[in-house]
């Protein structure tokens, strides 16, 4: 059995560990989802694009989960955190666990995520934790290319045929209620913001909205105005689709614990 988490962690480190865990889980789950497109994308360039984006995200997750484990002082490493937790222990936003759907749903999900991640990481790059800041500076550049990819495809589908525009709009409608969770605040976020260790959620939201609204206008798509929004991921309350996703992701590790190749 695992040793209980030490209680001597400084409060600041505990909050930072939680932040790194949330961001790391977002990246891990989204990366895992995008891998499912390999050999199924509309063209070989997209197989490469989506798998390369997934590679970036899993790279981000490795850095973030390692950092989270180090900060919480429990001795858990990236693998313990990725493969050794149960569904309820994951802290990702619900957006990233939404099923891939058709290509337009995946693009809509990535449009929303990448337009959030770029301004978030750009601001985190100026935060008071040197390691997280160094990571965020590099990650901002990488998710910038993801944002370009998602924006290009949104335009192409929105301005393409009647069917592609219909699907893109439908993808946006499906995804949009899950955007607001990315900008939620709670006591952890508030303490981190006060300590200069977290971007202001409102500021990120404004930057996000400027970006997505511009793309949607140019793509002649309608910004959805949902009358509800999803929440719960940061507290470990996940959607129906998440259990099977985690089970698949952890299956090899569970079958061969500690296996090396």
């Amino acid at each position: 059995m695992r040793e209980p988490v030490t209680t001597t962690t400084r409060p600041r480190d505990a909050d930072l560990a939680e932040l790194a865990l949330r961001l790391g889980d977002d990246a891990l789950v989204l990366g895992q989802q995008l891998c499912q497109w390999i050999t199924r994308a509309p063209m070989i360039e997209e197989d490469l694009a989506l798998s390369n984006i997934a590679l970036d995200l899993i790279g981000h997750a490795r850095v973030l989960l390692s950092r989270s484990g180090a900060l919480e002082g429990s001795g858990r490493d990236e693998d313990d955190l990725a493969f050794g937790r149960t569904e309820r222990e994951f802290r990702n936003a619900l957006l990233v666990e939404l099923p891939n759907g058709d290509f337009a749903v995946t693009i809509a999900r990535h449009l929303v995520f990448s337009h959030y991640a770029v301004p978030f990481y750009e601001r985190l790059a100026g935060c008071g934790d040197a390691e997280l800041a160094a990571f965020a500076a590099r990650a901002a550049a990488e998710v910038g290319s993801h944002r370009r990819h998602a924006s290009d495809w949104t335009l192409r589908l929105g301005l393409g045929t009647a069917e592609s525009a219909r699907r893109m709009q439908s993808g946006l409608d499906r995804i949009w209620p899950h955007a607001a969770e990315l900008f939620e605040s709670d006591p952890v976020v508030e303490r981190l913001v006060d300590a200069g260790l977290h971007p202001r959620p409102d500021e990120v939201r404004v930057a996000w909205h400027e970006g997505v609204a511009d793309v949607l206008a140019r793509a002649e798509l309608t910004e959805p105005a949902p009358d509800w929004h999803a929440t719960g991921g940061r507290a470990g309350l996940h959607t129906e689709a998440f259990g099977p996703l985690v089970a698949e992701m952890q299956s090899v590790h569970r079958q061969f614990p500690g296996g090396t190749w």
């Binding site: 063209m43 360039e45 390369n52």
Partner: protein, 227 residues
Amino acid sequence: MTAREDVDRVRARVEALPDPELPMITLGELGVIRSADTAGDGCVEVGFTPTFLGCPAIPAITEAIEEVLRDCGHSDGRVRHELTPAWTPDLITPTGREKLAAHGIAPPVDRNSTETRSRISVEIGSPTSAETRPGTSAGVRDRTSVETRSRTSVETGDRTSVEIGDRTSVETGAFGGPTSVGLGLGTPCPHCGSQDTRPHSSFGPTRCQSMLRCAECREIFPCITAT
């Protein structure tokens, strides 16, 4: 041998290691080896900056460096991943650029020339502009055509070529201008030297390569990219 000479020897051997994904160049030529020093506790530490955070070659490179450390008598030596300052293709050495080009991989347009491209209209005719992109024989006129095409794609990229499955739309990119610069617009073709090249796909066979197409010889070729 002094401690400094010893550390320099480690660094020289680490820099001579081939990159696992681009084996035609060494880690030194790729510009990912940042430092080799004796740390506070007396252990030799090699600073290594990954090209991309998720680069799958990171473990192989780390192990190869550790092997060099052991081989040089530093079994307690360490590899430190330095994320800042981030790697950029500007760090590829001139020799590295030549070797990549010889293997059909376009070396990156270096950042200095990318930054000057936005001012090209001002620079046309000035003798300094021909020097802004070292390593090519491009004349001022070529540069002008690059800038013109970049503007064209801003104006027409969105609406005129957006049909599904239309390769043109993928190659041109719905975003012109600044984002096309990120895709390596104007990168000379490693096969025929033409600068009439266009983005084909932002993502290539490895994460640090994007794909371009040459309008002259029609070859599709990879180009080293920072994002």
